[in-house]
């Protein structure tokens, strides 16, 4: 590892990722400052860190999103760098700029890179420039309905009509043929005008039964490498619940193309830090399409660490401290198969109702090939103010079948008393033939949950 400039790192996050960052910093010999809200004074990260600073009330807007408080904590504690984790301020370009303006190191890409990749149209344009396939569609907003209809024919139905100013699924319509398109497109435009004050619409091909496949990249501003792919097709309400690496849906040729495309885009934007390039993969055609780049460390990074034998969080800190990539592409290898499941404080037998509580007895799984990244300890009161992720159970084995066996073993060992968790969901999923054969896509999980209402309860989900 290159001798870095960072001596004291402030962690502007909470929960399991704060614990993860403290560990990485310690492995690098870097001191840690954990900021926290009034609700997190007893958190595991606060107990672990070398120093702690209270930055405000429980509401995230007044603490973990409060740029002034965080910068003041950095100044007062003498930290020379800030790690944003994921969520909160991790992809906030103004925060990255403010950290740099304060003379501190932001562990991540520059504000300009975050801004560029955060703008969907600009990111898509960058991908096209780097010859990375994007979802077929209009380049930006379409004004002329006749031209739009011709383009839709060209792309092939069904197509999605999206409001340019929309978001979170709002303002989306699906047209199955030309006639429907000519009815729906003007409707979508006038609805967007009414709802968002902007009638701009654009169109995109609908990829049915797509898998979510993403490539982990690391860049030092000059060079970039990939650490292969992760598959995250099991999602509920667009939230990933189960991730694995590698994806067994990919053949070697497609894998090479996909990873090369990701590296090309990473290099094109002179990326510095850890990032993820997300794609949709169409099983039937073997085509993949760029969706977006996430300019942060992701929740599911451990499955990549398990198959590649790397510490991505330590590497991103070292790069932020002025280090270069420690490996070239030919030195990045993978072996075996890793699976991660997300343990949330939710009751899967009761429509995944979030339910914080006090942790009673805690038995953490361990032994060969098992890793448990979490924020729990017996007696810990999980606060109700933040998201429900308690931790991630990750297993590694020589191949996928053995990894599935090991996941079952680890889930059987796991005991968290005092509050419901999503563990019974994974016990139930392990018995699904589709999951065992990885015949899944991003819209597989929700219908399966609807069709199997009793399975989770049988696996120990609480009675309500």
């Amino acid at each position: 590892m290159t001798e870095g400039k960072i001596k004291k790192l402030l962690i502007a996050n909470r929960g399991e990722i704060a614990v993860r960052i403290i560990r990485a910093a310690r492995d690098l010999g870097i001191a840690t400052v954990q900021v926290h809200s009034d609700a997190d004074t007893e958190s595991r990260a606060v107990r672990m860190a070398d120093e702690t600073v209270n930055i405000g009330p429980p509401a995230a807007a007044k603490s973990y999103l409060n740029v002034e408080s965080i910068l003041k904590a950095a100044r007062d504690s003498g930290a020379d760098a800030i790690h944003p984790g994921y969520g909160f301020l991790a992809e906030n370009a103004e925060f990255a700029d403010a950290v740099a303006d304060a003379g501190l190191i932001f562990v991540g890409p520059s504000g300009d890179t975050i801004r560029l990749m955060g703008d969907k149209a600009a990111a898509r344009a960058e991908a096209k420039k780097a010859n990375v396939p994007t979802v077929p569609g209009s380049d930006g907003v379409i004004g002329d309905m006749d031209a739009a209809a011709r383009l839709a024919e060209e792309i092939g139905f069904p197509v999605m009509i999206k409001a340019s100013a929309g978001g979170g699924g709002r303002g989306i319509r699906i047209a199955n043929d030309g006639e429907e398109f000519r009815t729906l497109a003007p409707q979508a435009s006038s609805e967007a005008k009414a709802a968002f004050g902007d009638g701009g619409i654009y169109i995109e091909k609908v990829i049915e039964r797509a898998r979510h496949i993403e490539v982990q990249v690391l860049g030092d501003g000059e060079d970039a490498v990939h650490f292969f792919e992760r598959e995250c097709s099991l999602q509920r309400r667009r939230q990933k619940v189960w991730e694995e690496a590698p994806s067994i849906a990919l053949g070697e040729r497609v894998r090479e193309e996909l990873c090369a495309a990701a590296v090309a885009l990473t290099k094109a934007v002179n990326y510095k830090g850890a990032g993820t390039i997300e794609f949709l993969y169409d099983d039937e055609t073997g085509e993949f399409y760029f969706i977006e780049m996430n300019t942060r460390i992701q929740v599911e990074h451990p499955v990549t660490e398990m198959i590649c034998g790397v510490d991505l969080v330590a590497d991103m800190i070292a790069i932020a401290g002025g280090g270069k990539l420690r490996v070239n592409q030919s030195q990045v290898t993978r072996s075996g198969h890793a699976i991660e499941v997300r343990l949330n404080a939710e009751d899967p037998a009761n429509n995944f109702m979030p339910f914080p509580g006090v942790v009673g007895e805690l038995l953490a799984p361990d032994g060969p090939g098992v890793r448990f990244d979490h924020m729990l300890y017996p007696g810990y009161a999980v606060p109700p103010f933040y998201d429900s992720l308690l931790g991630k159970l990750i297993v590694w084995a020589e191949d996928r079948d053995k990894a599935l066996m090991r996941l079952k073993r680890a889930l059987d060992e796991l005991q968290i008393e005092g509050l419901p968790t999503t563990a019974p969901l994974f016990q139930a999923l392990l018995e699904s033939d589709d999951v065992r054969a990885s015949k899944v896509h991003t819209r597989w999980l929700e219908p399966w949950l609807a069709e199997n209402p009793d399975l989770i309860r049988q696996k120990g989900g609480s009675e309500t």
């Binding site: 339910f355 914080p356 933040y386 998201d387």
Partner: protein
């Protein structure tokens, strides 16, 4: 008539309004029927409606707007 207590099924932050700039779902003295929403509880970034589980007239809200509640805590008393 006996007093009836409406309890929050989950812990979180209790809100009497659907949004900060809107009027409260119900005021003291209002009649409610079973199944009517009388408040929201925010927990882990999601909102859950708390509904009256009986007919009656609201006597008091023992918890103020934006205050924390525990699971099983009374958020309204009905006559």
């Amino acid at each position: 008539m006996a007093k009836h207590e409406v309890k929050s099924p989950i812990p979180g932050t209790f809100y009497r309004k659907p949004a900060p700039d809107q009027p409260a779902f119900k005021e003291v003295g209002d009649k409610v029927s079973k199944g009517e929403t009388i408040g929201l509880v925010e927990v882990m970034k999601t909102f859950h409606e708390v509904k009256a589980d009986a007919d009656g007239t609201i006597l008091v809200f023992p918890v103020d707007d934006s205050d924390p509640v525990m699971a099983g805590q009374t958020i309204a008393e009905l006559d």
